[in-house]
């Protein structure tokens, strides 16, 4: 029972982080048709900025975090408009640009903070006893925050004008343009939202892991994996896949070794790409 509870929460927390990352990837691809290799950099940058704002200006962690998320969002929007927009026609160039930008950010972080790992104190220290099992409060916080963030995004996309505009652009860019939706702003907005979500993920998980300049690589890989599994272009698919992968990963981690988690994810993805490229919820794909 106790192991079950631990796995339950562990899996939920992992899924939550994955979901935050994957949803961002899905959004940027769905609306902007961009594969963003810099996604991990936003995750990392968010965590470092939160640490920076908190220590350099002595701000409360929550305030520092909020500021960090905002900063990353603005940076991402700027990145989209200044560096990606001129290249949007050429898919490959955009990939290279996001990759180069990701590394530029990484090197900047190394320059400013050094390459050594930083340890962050938990926002929600200690643990909570649930049904006799001690669960780290930080992990519960992760579950809560990711749930709220994704929930808000869902509502935003369904009801808010801007949200609906984004969905329109994802469905048919030309059509959206013709009815007067500002497509450029839509692109910048999804980039900002996506980066914001990634930075949230980076911030809330940082007390559990440590801060290193390369911390974003594994979440980047996992988020792409999940989006493919769920079906490129389907947000619902990303969420379901995040849960699946999160739990599969938690199980593999507990039963065998954490090292095998990535391998498992890769095998899953490869299988999906070969046999059912559309993923769980995506649209059917033409075969050559």
């Amino acid at each position: 029972m106790q192991t079950f509870l631990t796995i339950l929460v562990f899996g939920l927390a992992t899924s939550g982080i994955y979901a935050l990352m994957a949803v961002g990837v899905a959004l940027i691809y769905g609306v902007g048709r961009v594969i963003n290799f810099a996604h991990g950099a936003f995750y990392t940058l968010g965590a470092y900025l939160a640490y920076f704002y908190a220590t350099a200006f002595g701000l409360n962690w929550w305030v520092a975090s909020a500021l960090a998320v905002l900063s990353v969002g603005c940076l991402a929007a700027g990145f989209d408009q200044l560096l990606i927009e001129p290249l949007r026609e050429h898919e490959i160039l955009v990939w290279i640009m996001t990759f180069a930008f990701a590394f530029a950010i990484r090197e900047l972080i190394v320059l400013l903070f050094g390459a050594r790992p930083y340890s962050i104190p938990a926002f929600a220290p200690g643990s909570v006893s649930v049904l006799g099992q001690a669960i780290a409060s930080q992990r519960l916080l992760v579950v809560a925050v990711s749930g709220v963030a994704i929930g808000s995004l869902w509502i935003f996309l369904r009801s808010a004008r801007l949200g609906k505009a984004l969905r329109a652009v994802a469905l048919n860019r030309t059509g959206a343009h013709l009815v007067g939706i500002p497509v450029r702003m839509a692109h910048a907005t999804v980039m900002a939202i996506s980066a914001g979500l990634a930075s949230v993920a980076g911030i809330i998980i940082s007390p559990i892991n440590v801060l290193t300049p390369d911390m974003g690589l594994e979440p980047l890989l996992m988020s792409f994996t999940i989006v493919i599994l769920g079906g490129i272009g389907s947000l619902r698919g990303s969420l379901v896949a995040a849960l699946l992968v999160g739990y599969a990963g938690a199980l593999v981690s507990f039963l065998w070794s954490p090292q095998l988690v990535t391998f498992m994810a890769l095998v899953m993805v490869f299988g999906v790409l070969i046999f059912r490229p559309s993923g769980l919820f995506g649209l059917a794909v033409e075969r050559a």
Binding site: L93, W95, A104, L221, I228, F263, A288
Partner: protein, 332 residues
């Protein structure tokens, strides 16, 4: 191009142009060889890496630059060859004359497997599925850490020469041979078919072309080129590190090809030497180095999306035309 609507003979794939003149880029090889032979050791080493990356870029470009199918996992070929030759020669003490061909063979086998599985999938899914393979292989090097070295890779790979200048000669020969083959291939019927596949795979099939076969053979050829350079790298570096399997490696290759000018074979070669040298030049800047490197990349991409080669070639052509010299389209 002089006339945007008509294509000059040299621009036309599969036709026109003097047969031997199209191989001019191979002349770069002896030039670089001379620089490396008479230059200082650091120069030779830099050129060694430049030539290796250039070979990777040629192998990548001959397939992806022409068919439009982005092989996001290209690094799997040099990496497999490097790991196999390293394992066989360092762990099992086999002679490099056996282990290097074995490494290349292993890479080709991988290409056969990957080709059979992924070539029928199109578009972005092809890029994604090929990108997964090196990542999976990366995991395998950790799982089979005893043979494959895990985090540290394989050390103690026996070198073939002690003088790096001799290594440079070999690597340049590999590069030169790869360029000759690639230049021939892309101007031959196969290159035309690859271009047709990029332009419209379904149309090509409707014209009776077995697109899978052309893509498959091209992928194999592309893998041989990368594998040969990768296998030799293991021996002149005397080690293999798992970083070679990172997606960054393939992204770098793609970047070199893109900055140089994709779909030209010579562009990727120039792009590789340019960027590898830039990286070396920046070593003096120590801490700032990588940041400046990637920032430069970002700027290059932003302001010269067609790559560096094409605008330069165009400028040179314009220059010749203005001075009235008869170097027309047959030239560059």
């Amino acid at each position: 191009m002089s006339d945007p609507q008509n294509l000059s003979p040299a621009d036309r794939l599969g036709g026109g142009g003097n047969n031997l003149r199209q191989y001019w880029p191979v002349l770069l090889v002896p030039v670089i060889g001379l620089i490396g032979w008479f230059g200082s050791q650091p120069v030779t080493i830099t050129l060694l890496y430049g030539a290796t990356w250039a070979t990777y870029a040629v192998g990548y470009d001959m397939f992806s630059g022409f068919s439009g199918r982005v092989n996001l996992g290209y690094a799997m070929f040099p990496a497999t060859a490097a790991y196999v030759t390293a394992a066989l020669s360092a762990r099992f003490k086999l002679s490099p004359f056996i282990s290097i061909p074995a490494g290349i063979a292993a890479a080709v086998l991988l290409a056969v497997l990957v080709g059979a599985l992924t070539l029928r999938i199109t578009g972005i899914y092809f890029a994604l599925s090929t990108s997964i393979i090196p990542l999976a292989l990366f995991q395998l090097t950790h799982v089979f850490g005893k043979f494959l070295g895990g985090e540290e890779g394989i050390w103690g790979v026996p070198p073939i020469f002690t003088d790096p200048r001799l290594d440079l000669v070999v690597v340049l020969l590999i590069l030169g041979a790869s360029m000759c083959f690639a230049l021939w291939y892309v101007r031959s019927k196969a290159g035309l078919v690859l271009r047709a596949i990029q332009g419209g795979e379904l149309t090509a099939q409707a014209l009776g072309l077995n697109t899978f076969r052309f893509l498959f053979v091209s992928l194999l050829a592309s893998s041989v080129i990368g594998a040969t350079a990768g296998a030799y790298l293991a021996h002149f570096q005397m080690l293999v590190a798992p970083e070679i399997l990172h997606i960054i490696t393939t992204l770098q290759i793609i970047t070199f090809a893109q900055i140089g000018g994709p779909g030209t074979i010579v562009g990727p070669v120039l792009g590789s030497f340019l960027l590898v040298n830039l990286n070396e030049y920046l070593r003096a800047w120590t801490d700032l180095r990588l940041f400046v490197y990637f920032a430069t990349l970002v700027l290059l991409l932003r302001f010269s999306p067609d790559g560096v080669l094409v605008p330069i070639a165009r400028a040179i052509r314009r220059l010749f035309r203005r001075t009235g010299a008869p170097s027309g389209p047959e030239g560059i």
